[in-house]
Amino acid sequence: MAGKRSVIPFGPQHPVLPEPIHIDLITEDEKVVEAVPSIGFVHRGLEQLVTKKDFGEMVYVAERICGICSFGHGYGYVNAIEHIMDIHPTDRARFIRTMLFELSRMHSHILWLGLMADAFGFESLFMETWKYREKILDMLEAATGGRVIFSIIRIGGLRKDVPDEVMQGFLPELDKVVEGIKSCEKVFLSDPAVLSRLKGIGYLSKEDAIALGCEGPFLRASGVDTDNRMRGYAAYSSVDFDIITSDEGDSYARCYVRIQEIYQSASIIRQCIEKMPKEGIYVPIKGFPNGEYMTVIEQPRGGACYYVHSSGRKFIERMRVRTPTFANIPALTKTLQGCDVADVPILVVTIDPCISCTER
């Protein structure tokens, strides 16, 4: 017998969400039948700032699309412009960019582990993971001067060099972080109380993940081995790493994939520091961009597209950013169908939603 249908609003202000998103949950008793997302609470309209800031200043705007994946956004935009203007950054700039990108990925994944722990009510685990995240932020601060927004990248290379001895100092710190995450991994992946909240919750099949346009760890946890880093931008073609996948497709798999990716990132950073070339960090640029290009890169949350359309003027015509969370929302509503109301907060967190990216 079908129960009575009712609508439960979720968000925009909710304890589990650091950012606002609103979902109308259409429920039958305790089961969610349908989920209708609505966004727009943090829409700023920054893509239109291209009419007010020139193409060089837009790097700072791009970095502020999101404070978690800030480096990647700056990189994506800069990469598109460099393609249009046919600029080839030096090897050292490429390696430092890769290293900073991976540090950002590590801090983003650890941040997610903490938010996940908070979502299933394990506050001490949240505090523990964020303790290791601070070590990554210290490295980023030593390298760039900023904790979350770096403004180190610019068209043609980098604004400042990272001294070799600073980078050498990262190696022992990385070991400590990896060791710390290994100790947390035991809880995330084998504690019975945690498993009861994750195993089998929010299943998404491989077919659905592909058809609904999923990206990133969400896609890979459903058994699809696509990682845009394999495209070989920056210095990714010069380092070895594995694509982490899982066939289980549930919340546990998403947790597993992200934890393993933290180790992969640490390994990439070590390789970058070992192979770090010596020459300069900046090639001067001439003129204004003329043409269009789309860069696809792998952000911590998945593939992101940066489209730039320019016509040889100081101000570009259009910057368009398609972020991973935007692509993951259709699949999120799919996984919410049929789940218990009590599992909704966890499921929303498992896609690692970044709303300010999504709405720009």
């Binding site: 304890p15 829409h43 920054l46």
Partner: protein, 167 residues
């Protein structure tokens, strides 16, 4: 400084880029540990004494910010965290940004930075603790009641009108 209460804080992301939000969260974690002042991060406006608002205000979330503020019990203190919450920051020129938090609710402490550093936030929160005590003291004597968001808006409108007349 003597701390007489253990105030709880509520955080809402206006339309920030998330940078300030993770720094607000980082301020509650062991490195910075704002909880040593007896502070707990709560999700319920009815439990909160300090409102940390990040990011500028836009037409879609202005009512959410107002509602959260109005639901908080007196005495309460509002912190604008980060330059976007102070005056709109880099997004000031965006078509969808109305301005800082103080375009819709009264702000007591402004904490600048892009993104705001946890140390600065703690500084701001400590200032807020003092204000909270002062407000509580005045309330006891019946001299103080905080403005509702509707009263605040009316006052702002009147100020703007007076400024226009004077000009």
């Amino acid at each position: 400084m003597r701390i007489s209460k253990s105030p709880w804080l509520l955080h809402y992301d206006g339309s920030s880029c998330n940078g300030c939000d993770i720094e607000v969260l980082a301020a509650t974690t062991p490195r910075f540990d704002v909880e040593r002042f007896g502070i707990i991060n709560t999700g319920n406006p009815r439990h909160a004494d300090i409102f940390l608002c990040t990011g500028g205000v836009n037409s879609q979330n202005k009512d959410v910010v107002r509602q959260i503020y109005d639901q908080m019990p007196d005495p309460k203190v509002v912190l604008a965290c980060g330059i976007c919450a102070c005056d709109g920051g880099i997004f000031k020129d965006c078509y969808n940004i109305m301005g800082g938090t103080d375009t819709v609710i009264p702000v007591d402490v402004y904490v600048p930075g892009c993104a705001v550093r946890p140390e600065a936030l703690i500084d701001g929160v400590v200032k807020a603790l003092k204000l909270l005590d002062e407000k509580a003291e005045k309330m006891k004597r019946g001299e103080y009641k905080s403005l509702t968001s509707a009263e605040y808006e009316a006052a702002r409108r009147q100020d703007a009108a007076e400024e226009k007349n004077n000009a």
